[in-house]
Subunit: 324 residues, 2 copies
């Protein structure tokens, strides 16, 4: 079975680990969000790609969900001793090596997709990880604070301000010019099913959907999503702050409407959100909390089962031995 | 008293620490060698500038003479895990931060002299440290091995090959175009005395002397050197391998002749090298081994005393209260 999944950071990566566990013989292509990429100290940092790579490759810090396990922070402390800003972004020494390799390759002329493939040669994540675009895009957030109304990089709002200042607007700078990375549209065209993990619907999945051609390609496929909102609150992270910024309620229903039809074909919600409904979308309620790889795998299996059910109702079955 | 010193790495830095100890009220400008600078992993590394900065700023690894004290090697290990070459150059995590700051500033358009000044704002080395040139030069070494006759970067010959393959030629690539960094010629013009520490006469002092205008400026001044060769062998390092490459004997006499007159006015040699002589140069023999800051200071004081003696014989005394 050929599966395509879009993914942001922690939530997406943990879901994918479950998906991998229940589909050992599938071909999985992950289209990663690069809207929250940032240049720090002259180095190119791709937080979501790295979280997916480290999580699936066995190098993730399990407690915090991002960054490397057994990490140290010597370089960061030394940069602070030189007075270098910003000091609010926590890059560890092991993580620095990834950014050094990435930056050297990018400066040598390799596109981000080729760099990501090279980094994955070490991590062997078990999926094909492609950035949504080789073109640089950056999510900026418009806020008003004592410095006035201004746009800050998403990471400054998310990490430094902990989303405590309301986002008035969320803008993907560069979205108009960005093309899907090589392989993205082909992987979608070849997919038996497309899954939207419970990643942030605005700054992760929403960002990927803004890249020209991706939404249109997905509308032709069977797309099943897992709600990142359970009982009116994000499962993790601060998705509510992002949804509010774009005028969308923090509910499983509102996120489904945000994604909309004809994009969506199936939608998994938590039991407390049963009753969520949209024309043309098959909705199923089940436990959605990912405690561990096993529970994440059960949710992933439920998403695949929902895709099978959708195909059966339409009289076309998904391909491959993993389909049930 | 205004003192200018040229300097390479470890030997020069240890000598300068002694010089600083015996001339607390002098203005010292150090012109640092940048011929062995190298770009590694996309980062600009200036080994000699950093050795001077760390040594005088209290951050040096005393045992090895280069790099930072209390150093760790996490980034290097991670780069190796990615298969990144070269793996023979030992950059520690604390050291990496210096190169990250330097590279970011250079990429932002600052010349190396401004970057060095910014780095020194943290280290407060007690001297004004200026790179010999803001223009990029690189010492390359011609060798013949199983890969044929070829030029390698000085660091590859020095660090990876430990100078075990004979150097057939030593070339400062870029020397023809390189101009002295801002402040270099003025500091020389203003100097009461110029000191050549016991640095490598070929790839450290010899490199600085190749930058257009520096030798000429020095010839107008009282220049006193400390022999890096004692009893036919380098005090430290592998200067003999460099001298052989340019057809110069490894003796205090041959190095004095290499520097030559009218550049040199005074030459300190070890007691076993008494008898070293060159027309126009006042030679003095004394112990030249730097065991510690105190013995390095005694050698520095002897160099200053020799400069005073030279000036007295010429009927012009060096300026300033430190002159004795």
């Amino acid at each position: 079975m050929r599966i395509v999944a879009l993914a942001g950071g922690i939530g997406g990566a943990r879901f994918l680990r479950g998906l991998l566990a229940v589909t050992p013989s599938s071909e999985i292509t992950v289209i990663g969000n690069t809207g929250d990429d940032i240049s720090l100290y002259g180095l190119r940092v791709c937080p979501d790609l790295d979280t997916v790579m480290y999580t699936l490759g066995g190098g993730i810090n399990e407690e915090q969900g991002w960054g490397r396990q057994k990490e140290s922070y010597v370089v960061k402390e030394e940069l602070a001793a030189y007075g270098v800003e910003p000091q609010w972004f926590g890059l560890g020494d092991r993580d620095f090596a990834t950014h050094i390799v990435r930056t050297q390759m990018i400066d040598a002329g390799y596109p981000l997709s080729a760099v990501t493939e090279a980094l994955c040669a070490r991590w062997e994540p078990g999926v094909r990880l492609i950035p949504m675009s080789d073109d640089r895009t950056e999510t900026h957030v418009v806020i008003s604070d004592e410095q006035g109304r201004r746009a800050v990089h998403f990471q400054e709002w998310w990490v430094r301000l902990r989303a405590s200042v309301p986002a008035e607007q969320i803008i993907l700078v560069g979205a108009d010019e960005a093309k899907p990375a090589p392989g993205v549209l082909q992987a979608i065209a070849d997919a038996d099913v497309v899954i939207l993990p419970p990643s942030n619907p605005v700054v992760s999945i929403g960002t990927i959907l803004q890249i020209k051609g991706i939404r249109e390609a997905l509308e032709a496929k069977t797309v099943v999503g897992v709600s990142p909102i359970v009982g009116g609150a994000p499962v993790r992270g601060m998705a509510d702050a992002c949804l509010t910024a774009i005028g969308v309620d923090t509910t499983a229903q509102a996120v489904l409407e945000l994604y909309g039809s004809p994009l969506m074909d199936g939608w998994l919600v938590a039991e407390e959100d049963a009753g969520t409904a949209l024309d043309g979308v098959l909705v199923e309620a089940r436990p959605l909390i990912m405690h561990d790889v096993e529970s994440a795998g059960a949710i992933a299996q439920a998403a695949l089962d929902l895709a099978t059910e959708i195909a059966a109702r339409r009289g076309t079955a998904p391909q491959g031995e993993d389909a049930r």
